[in-house]
């Protein structure tokens, strides 16, 4: 009963958040200068043409009226029609979302593995030069933003040592048997490791660029909380039982020390998804972020709205997942 109430409450707050986002984005992009109709018509179009097209997209009505019409559609699953692409918004957005999700998840996996390994190494060899080296690596990772890492990686592994592809999601010459847009997952499911490898070679650099700053943050916080945990009595007690340093770190300290890091990862992962917008652009990766930039350039109001709503939904789901994981991992919260 309690769980049901908590779930319902959570769903309610999530919908309030989404409605808030919808209102803000709808009005803000209409206040910002720029006319979508002007972008569509060739130079020399008559006043009449402009008026006709404006009426066609409903842009002649008042903003409040437009909002009511749009929200009515959204509640029925209709997010309108893209002005620049002349297709319904939702299929467009959902078609691109998997590419971005795969990129973001790949980046997250890299960040957790690299950040976790760095933190554990730093703690295992604390107060030695190894820890100093970890601190320096964290500092470097944190002080360079993801889009700069992207450029550095392009120069290193795209130009000087061309190991990875610098553009696109998959080589255009390949025949694709895919029915979903989750190429990486589907290539594994179909045991098409040739395609999988090609996807990875495309995804690696953008994912790494997104992952490096996050890995540094994870490493820094996790190392700090591990070091604090290593002084606690239960850790000392387990040493007297005959356990090795590695065992003490991994099975006594880590499960407790990783809780604050987990919360941080949840917050930072949403930032990382925000980062995909510019990174996808730099690597011409056909994801939602890249589409968002085009939508903004073309003043494609319905498409911008659709993308923002989907991003917002994604963020609220991530926050929900983090809270759920936190409750599972921290027994003290389970009865609360």
């Amino acid at each position: 009963m309690k769980l049901l109430r908590a779930t319902l409450l959570r769903l309610l707050t999530m919908s309030v958040t989404l409605i808030g986002v919808a209102v803000v984005v709808f009005f803000v992009i209409r206040v910002v200068p720029g006319n979508p109709i002007a972008m569509m018509l060739p130079p020399g179009a008559t006043e009449d043409d402009v008026a006709r097209l404006t009426a066609l997209y409903g842009l002649d009505k008042s903003i409040v009226e437009q909002f009511v019409i749009w929200l009515g559609g959204v509640l029925q699953g209709d997010f309108g029609t893209s002005i620049s692409l002349r297709q319904p918004v939702m299929p467009l957005v959902l078609g691109r979302l998997p590419a971005t999700l795969e990129l973001a998840i790949f980046a997250l996996v890299i960040a957790v593995i690299v950040g976790g390994a760095l933190a554990l190494t730093g703690v295992r060899h604390r107060e030695t030069r190894t820890e100093t080296a970890v601190d320096v690596a964290n500092g470097v990772g944190l002080s360079i933003p993801d889009f700069l890492w992207a450029l550095i990686l392009i120069v290193l592994f795209g130009v000087l040592m061309p190991i990875f592809h610098i553009s696109g999601r998959i080589s255009p010459s390949l025949d694709l048997p895919f029915v979903t847009q989750f190429y990486v997952f589907e290539s594994v499911a179909r045991l098409r490791f040739d395609l999988w490898w090609d996807l990875l070679k495309h995804m690696f650099m953008p994912a790494l660029a997104l992952a490096i700053p996050l890995a540094a943050i994870i490493s820094q916080l996790l190392k700090q909380s591990l070091k604090e945990t290593m002084h606690l009595d239960y850790v000392t007690l387990s040493r007297t039982k005959g356990y090795s340093e590695n065992h003490v770190i991994l099975s006594e300290a880590l499960p407790n020390a990783m809780l604050p890091t987990l919360t941080l990862i949840g917050v930072q992962f949403t930032f990382l998804i925000g980062g995909t917008v510019i990174i996808e652009r730099l690597f011409s990766y056909e994801g939602l972020g890249n589409m968002a930039i085009d939508a903004v350039i073309n003043r494609d109001l319905p498409l911008i709205q659709g993308i923002v709503i989907v991003f917002a939904l994604l963020f609220t789901i991530i926050n929900l997942l983090v809270d759920m994981m936190y409750a599972v991992l921290n027994p003290r919260l389970r009865h609360a």
Partner: protein
Amino acid sequence: MTAFLTVTNLSAALHGYEQRVLRSVSFSIDTGEVLGLVGESGAGKSMIGKAILGILPSAIEIIEGEILLDGQDLEKMKPADRRRLIGATAALIPQDPLTALNPSRRIEPQITNRLVDILGWTKADARVRALELLNEVHIDNPERVMASYPHELSGGMRQRVLIASAFAANPKLVIADEPTTALDVTVQKQILRLIRELQARHATAMVFVTHDLGVVSKICQRLSVLYGGKIVENSSVAEFFDGPKHAYSRALLAATPKYTDPEASLLPVDEAVIEAAAAEVLAADREWRHGG
């Protein structure tokens, strides 16, 4: 009886400093015997226990001396062997039961993990042993407690669990580091009785670290008084309470609150006595430096 633990001339210092925090400490304990280590805060009593168990803070290092545990010189052993020997023969009852249990694990593995991981018991055997031990420490519903998380238990219960965990592997040496200090007075008495009961039943050698001479009189056969990391007096409990030999011990005993006369007894240790003890420690340092 043979001495199970012999500490000879043990000195420790902060890493990179000459000033010692343990000053040529020597003592030994026989099987089944309880030795009290008493002294003020900062006298180094807990440090001795930590040195024996190999859990000194990384900033403190042993600079000389010998710790013989079950006939083996700990300082000369390989770290992994030493760890295993300590895990198999010795155990710690920690000071603060609220922080000495891992908050994210259930009680059962915290009692049985040493048996399973270090001593190679099966999980089923270890579980039987854990239930038996929880009975021994007078926990009414051992099955429920084993499935609980630490935050679901009271401080006294947690200390019982920790005592059960300490005695799980039938240790030959238990180091009790102020095990009752963090508990309230009524629980203190029960826990103390429990420790004495288990120590006697298992004939364990025990180092009992405390600042409470009243506790020493109840549980120990011998005691060592520490000042400034130096043992100023070794004596049997009977002799000590008849009349301590050292001036500092006498002052310490005089400063112990008595329940019969709480007002009169709350006297600080005389400053002249402390100065004399400090001078003695410094003299010992000079001698040590010339000798070494």
